[in-house]
């Protein structure tokens, strides 16, 4: 009597009750998500998925046994993180003289790493806030993992200013806390603005991330709870440990989901709060890297004293952040089952376009710096760009003057300006392998950008008698590599224990989520007539 709803039809098909229709994918549309016709909407989720499929796919990453690569990988990255921690301990005990710093170059890898990581952290909030305000529905596939990445990047970033201050046990003096000397921090210093910007950014990102996760944590809670009710004697955490896995899950996810029960009256306030958070995070994300750039721009060091820095830094942060999102998600979507249905080629193509656009902005800023150096007529400024950064030895004129860090500058140009240009070609920005390689190059390039800005400006400033090169020590390298280990370990743990996709948001962009959706087969969905 009742008409089978297409959602149920899909569920039956996926449960293996009905054979799947053999649909030949149009080769011009890649996996089916690449729609070139402007009037047509490409699907955001592939495979004609039902709501239940989305729940099963995403919760499956947490509830099923992890893939065999997961534990060895997390042990490896965890060891790197631990090694980095040991070198930080050594640094705290011995002093920052163990870094390769000298009187001239008194900021080097520490601040490079800080700016590198905080920049990476910008993609998450951009995706969750700015793309939300712009109603870019494709963001739902990537926002959760990008927000997680943001938080882990901010954790790595915050470490470096914390340990670079020399006497790390005095780090509390960064905050306006009453103390015996009755002095307060200098609120007129960009470095203190930085403290407030980064800590606000970290806190707001964490709140945003957590709030987005509440419904999904409730889904995990309910699934564990339902399994417990069906079978109270399920598997235990470890053999001989009488704690049922599902009871533990129901408890932990239940605690974290705060008793969320999917009420529409709650959803109404939730969506309002989400929109407001998106609205206030947008100026926040733009302010954070602007303030980071003030650390440099408000000084008088040639190469730093530049008004273009705030927009240039923000564009660079989004550029580097998207590259990192792609760098993580491209392997993940092949390693995790059915993830490529949620992160389609179109998602990758959209992100590749953002990488291209922001890469062009960054390239424009690089060029503009030279123009302003020339236009300013300041000899110091011109020399800083020409002989601190640009000039390779094989172009050095009769005087033989060249920039000793020319290779860093040109690595930056090659990675950040040249490599994204391949994305002008459709085939390139639709190939996960090409996107992965370019993202890798961009990530390297963005690290070099910060190195170039910081070290090449400092190593030869006004007085030639004080010129000095910078060479990293083992401690420099180990702490940076350790921060990569921390980042990857946290991300792998996140992928294992927390919902990697915004389940409720992905469901909401499925076509059948609209209250005005009419299934194509005969019979409107509403006319099922009782039971």
């Amino acid at each position: 009597m009742s008409v089978l709803h297409p959602d149920e039809a899909t569920a039956r098909r996926l449960a293996g009750l009905v054979p799947a229709p053999v649909g030949a994918a149009d080769p011009g549309k890649g996996d089916g998500s690449l729609e070139d016709e402007p009037g047509k909407r490409a699907p955001l989720v592939l495979g004609n998925r039902s709501f239940g499929d989305v729940t099963n796919i995403v919760c499956g990453y947490i509830e099923n046994k992890p893939a065999r690569w997961w534990l060895p990988t997390v042990l490896f990255t965890g060891s790197i993180a631990g090694l980095g921690g040991m070198f930080i301990a050594y640094l705290v005990i011995t002093g920052i003289g163990t870094w390769g710093l000298n009187n001239q170059v008194d900021w080097a890898w520490d601040i490079t790493n800080f700016v590198f990581w905080i920049g990476i952290g910008h993609a998450g909030t951009l995706i969750s806030a700015i793309l939300c305000l712009l109603k870019q529905r494709w963001r739902t596939a990537i926002n959760r993992s990008a927000e997680a990445m943001t938080i882990f990047a901010v954790i790595c970033a915050a470490t470096f200013p914390g340990i670079h201050i020399g006497r790390q046990w005095m780090a509390w003096m960064l905050f306006p806390l009453p103390n015996a000397n009755a002095i307060w921090p200098n609120f007129r210093s960009p470095l203190l603005w930085d403290v407030f910007a980064v800590s606000t950014y970290g806190t707001v990102s964490l709140l945003f991330w957590y709030m987005g996760m509440i419904p999904d944590l409730a889904t995990l809670r309910d699934r564990a709870d339902a399994r417990m009710r069906r079978n109270p004697n399920g598997a235990t955490v470890l053999p001989f440990v009488p704690i049922r896995i599902d009871r533990l899950r129901a408890f932990v996810y239940g605690l974290l989901s705060l008793g969320w029960r999917f009420s529409s009256r709650h959803w109404h306030r939730y969506e309002t709060a989400y929109l407001v958070l998106a609205g206030i995070s947008t100026p926040l994300v733009l302010s954070v890297h602007s303030i980071v750039s003030f650390d440099f721009a408000t000084s008088i060091v040639p190469g730093w004293h530049t008004t273009i820095f705030p927009p240039y830094f923000v564009a660079g942060a989004i550029f580097g952040g998207f590259a990192m999102v792609l760098l993580l998600l491209i392997p993940f979507r092949s390693l995790f089952p059915r993830m490529s249905d949620l992160i389609t080629l179109r998602h990758l193509e959209n992100m590749a376009k953002i990488v291209l656009a922001t890469g062009m902005m960054v390239g424009f800023a690089y060029g503009m710096e030279f123009f302003i150096a020339w236009y300013s007529g300041s000899q110091f400024e011109q020399e800083a760009f020409l002989y601190n950064r640009l000039m390779p030895p094989f172009f050095a004129g009769e005087e033989g003057r060249y920039a000793p860090y020319w290779w860093a500058y040109w690595a930056m140009i090659g990675c950040n300006v040249v490599s994204p240009q391949v994305f002008w070609f459709k085939a390139m920005r639709r190939s996960p392998l090409v996107i992965f390689i370019v993202s890798f190059l961009v990530t390297i390039g963005m690290w070099f950008e910060r190195f170039v800005i910081i070290v090449t400006s400092l190593h030869r400033a006004f007085l030639p008698g004080e010129w000095h090169m910078f060479t990293p020590t083992l401690v420099d390298i180990a702490i940076f590599v350790g921060s990569c280990g921390v980042f990857l370990t946290l991300f792998l743990l996140f992928a294992r224990y927390l919902p990697m996709f915004a389940i409720s948001e992905v469901k909401a962009v499925l076509p059948q989520a609209s209250p005005h959706y009419h299934p194509e087969p005969a019979g409107p969905a509403g006319e099922k007539g009782g039971h």
């Binding site: 709803h5 959602d7 149920e8 709501f51 729940t55 306006p176 009755a182 002095i183 307060w184 200098n186 609120f187 007129r188 203190l192 407030f196 910007a197 606000t200 707001v204 709140l207 957590y210 889904t219 809670r221 309910d222 699934r223 339902a226 605690l255 705060l258 008793g259 969320w260 029960r261 999917f262 009420s263 529409s264 959803w267 109404h268 306030r269 939730y270 969506e271 309002t272 709060a273 407001v276 206030i280 995070s281 100026p283 926040l284 302010s287 003030f294 389940i503 409720s504 469901k507 909401a508 059948q512 989520a513 609209s514 209250p515 005005h516 959706y517 969905a525 509403g526 099922k528 039971h531």
Partner: protein, 207 residues
């Protein structure tokens, strides 16, 4: 189903099941967001006030179909955000220009410009905390225990089910009429929801 009717608090009637457990409400399932949307309009038009629709994701436009008034949360966020910014400015001014006035780089400590970035950040910080904590407070969360969460079928709302629950505390609630309304709206698996068993329901002398 709803058995005997007990005269309860002065506010109204308390319905109990046959075993004497008070009734929280009647719940019905709907297959799709479209069904839920239509049913919500019917329940709204029937004049119920204490009821709710449950869905795995926010269904677009459902707040209007349910007749939910717009939340005042944004006003609260704006007020607390601006207060946070103002306090942040005053903090900086007091610390740098009053309590321990210092001239830095030859600039008057009373000048306001340099205090703007931190004022802005603190405003955002207070607004963000208000957004999430205010949302939770208005929703009366956290509430780790709820009559609905004890129903096995209700747990599927977090997956792919859509439900409406009309609460027994509503003035218009009537075990039979409410049930018929939910069924007429296309609801399936219409069922009673028992309230907290801990609630004192002993008939002390029998009202």
């Amino acid at each position: 189903m709803a058995g005997r009717v007990m005269a309860g608090r002065a506010t109204g009637t308390i319905y109990t099941t046959e075993s004497g457990v008070p009734v929280y409400g009647i719940v019905a399932e709907y297959a799709t967001p479209a069904d839920l949307y239509r049913a919500s309009e019917m329940v709204r038009d029937a004049g119920y006030a204490r009821w709710d629709a449950y869905s795995p994701f926010p269904v677009h436009g459902l707040d209007e179909a349910m007749g939910i008034r717009r939340t005042r949360l944004p006003i609260l966020i704006a007020v607390i955000g601006l207060t946070g910014a103002a306090l942040g400015y005053l903090m900086q001014h007091w610390m740098s220009a009053v309590d321990y006035a210092q001239v830095v780089q030859g600039k008057n400590p009373r000048d306001w410009e340099a205090y703007i970035p931190i004022t802005f950040e603190l405003g955002i910080l207070s607004a963000a905390f208000t957004a999430i904590l205010g949302m939770l407070a208005f929703n009366r969360l956290p509430m780790w225990n709820h009559p609905l969460l004890r129903k096995d079928r209700f747990l599927r709302v977090s997956d792919d089910r859509f439900m409406i629950c009309i609460e027994a505390s509503d003035d218009r609630f009537d075990p039979e009429k409410t049930r018929h309304l939910l069924e007429a709206a296309g609801g399936t698996n219409v069922d009673l929801v028992e309230d907290e068993p801990e609630m004192p329901v002993e008939d002390d002398g029998g009202h």
